[in-house]
Structure formats: structure tokens, C-alpha cells
Symmetry: C2
Subunit: 188 residues, 2 copies
């Protein structure tokens, strides 16, 4: 196996797109930043859109893996893990280079619901919802679907707000709200 060049391209393209945006990052800039020739790029990906889709696949895998693992590290029970999500988010917001949610930005630049980039961004959110619904179900909450969706609303709101540069920490505000919601819903 030589997953080298292609994966290296996707990984470095991820950084560039995340930092600069999609339209604003041209293929020539990718050549300059990745050190990979344009010929090679177009041998691996027929179009820029294909490359972006590959980038989003990698981002989805990495982000979900990171978030799920961090939640497990920070919390024992399903309830604790759901709360811990907001501590994980807080850590993310503090990282240098944090620039919001890549999928929100992708769907902002490619808005038509029929656009593959938009659809793939929506898929990412659906996967998150599934996972949180399962977690809420395991936690024995009476309305796991509703609870999961509400916690995700807080998550999305916190990410957007953190990106727009608030003085207070949105992750902490969201965490407090989440605790209230979790304590209100009856558990088995």
C-alpha cells in the first residue's frame, strides 16, 4: 500500500480549505501549499469538487472520531458524556486556527440542496444526530430524539458564536443549558 501522495494531498487541502475557504482557495494555491503538482492532483481527482468531497469525507471521519473519543474520555455515563461534549467543544474553540465548522462553511458556499457538497455536509450532521440519539437512548431519557436534536442545536449555535468571536465562552453557556435540559428529562 502507498496511501502517500493522494492522502497527503487531501490532508493538506483540508488545511488550506479550512483556513481560506473553498472558493477563495484556487488550485494554484493548493499547488503552492501542498508541493504537489497540478498534474498529479487532476490525476487523483477529476475536478475541484471531487477533491472537496474527499476533503469533507476526511474531515467527517476525523471530527467525529475526535469528538466521540473525547466525550468518552471526559464522561462515564451517557449523560456525563453528553455534557462533556461541551467541554470538548470548549477545547476546540481554544485551539489556534479554529475557524468554525467546516460543514457549515461548505454548505454556505455551496447552497443548493442538490449540490453534492451540500448533501455531504448534511450527511455529517445526520451522523451526529444518530450517534447522539443512541447515546440519549442508552441514557434512558424519555425523549432521546428530541433531546439529541436540542443538544445539537446548542452545539451548532456554540460553534457559530465562537467563530464570530464572542467575549464570553459559548461552550460554557451551552453546557449550562444542556445540563438543565438533561436534568429536566426523566430518566428510567
Amino acid at each position: 500500500m502507498r496511501p502517500t501522495k493522494r492522502d497527503e494531498l487531501v490532508q493538506k487541502a483540508l488545511d488550506a480549505f479550512y483556513r481560506n475557504g473553498f472558493h477563495a482557495t484556487g488550485m494554484d494555491m493548493l499547488v503552492a501549499e501542498t508541493g504537489i503538482s497540478k498534474t498529479s492532483m487532476y490525476k487523483h481527482f477529476r475536478t475541484k469538487e471531487d477533491l472537496i468531497l474527499a476533503v469533507l469525507r476526511l474531515r467527517d471521519e476525523r471530527f467525529r472520531n475526535w469528538l466521540y473519543r473525547r466525550m468518552e474520555e471526559l464522561g462515564q455515563s451517557p449523560k456525563e458524556q453528553l455534557i462533556a461534549m461541551f467541554d470538548a467543544l470548549g477545547e476546540w474553540f481554544e485551539e489556534q486556527g479554529f475557524k468554525g465548522c467546516m460543514f457549515v462553511k461548505a454548505s454556505s458556499e455551496y447552497q443548493e440542496p442538490s449540490n453534492p457538497i451540500h448533501m455531504q455536509s448534511a450527511d455529517h450532521k445526520r451522523l451526529l444526530e444518530q450517534h447522539f440519539t443512541e447515546l440519549a437512548t442508552r441514557g434512558g431519557f424519555s425523549k432521546p430524539g428530541l433531546l439529541a436534536r436540542q443538544l445539537l442545536l446548542l452545539k451548532e449555535g456554540a460553534i457559530v458564536t465562537a467563530h464570530l468571536g464572542h467575549t464570553t465562552d459559548p461552550a460554557q453557556d451551552a453546557k449550562k443549558a444542556a445540563i438543565s435540559l438533561l436534568n429536566l428529562q426523566s430518566q428510567l
Copy 2:
């Protein structure tokens, strides 16, 4: 007063940018869509960025006016009005042509915090926070600042989620969460 041409340009440019995005909407497309000559555009605005900033000013004025008025129409007390925000959002989501929050999209395409477009988008969010904090204060809640920020997290999350096309209505989920948070905080 002849607020005609310039205002007409800003208004039609708003539609085009909202529908197509900022980078994806070129000045030539604006000429085609607005019927206003490029020469006139560049007499009113020195750069595309200046035009975008004017568009965002108009959007800020219109959106806040609409939201605040709708909240007053749908609710009597401050508490009722805060809850009614999510019904207003639900109405917005149902409108054809709904494409998410223009300021989130603007800050997604112009990410650097020092960018005027990014800064103006952040200003819009700050104005919302001020207004909601005042409303929560008038409602006699014990922590009006925190409550306002939490309700705004739910708002931002609902808008993003509605844009990414969920099956269930994010406005309703957010409304239920908001009611819980409002009932939990002690009022004078």
C-alpha cells in the same frame, strides 16, 4: 430625495448575494440581475467589498426590525416574546428562498476576524445579544445575560440546522428547549 438607484442596487444585490453567495456572485452577474450598469455601481461603491458592507447594513436593519416586530406581535410579556422568537424563526424557515443566516455565511466566506465583512457580521450578533439581554432584564430573570446568550445559541443552531435540511422542524425543538430554560430561571 432620490434614494432610488443606489438603494435599488443594494436591495437587488442583497437578493443575489443571499441566493448565490458572495464569492460566487460576480459583478457581471449583478449587472445582469439588477439591470444597473457596472459604471453606476462603481460610482456608488468603490469596491465589491464596500457594496457587500452596504448590503449587510441593509440586511441587519431589515432582519432585526422584522424579528423584533414579529416577536412583539406574537407575545405580550418579555417572556412570551422571547418564546415567540422561535415561532417567528419557524415562519422564516418555511419561506421559499430561505438559505440560512446571511451573516454566518458572510463570516464563513470572509473568515479573518480583522476583515470588515467579518467584523460587521459580528456586530449584528452583538446587537441581537444586547436586545435580548434587555428583554430578559425587563422580564425579571435572575441571569439575563446568560439567558439571552443561551437563547441565541438555540437560535443560531436552529438556523444552521434548518439550512442543512432536517426532517423535523428545528424551530420547534429550539422553542421547547427555550421554554425549559425560561421556566427554570427564577423571575422577580
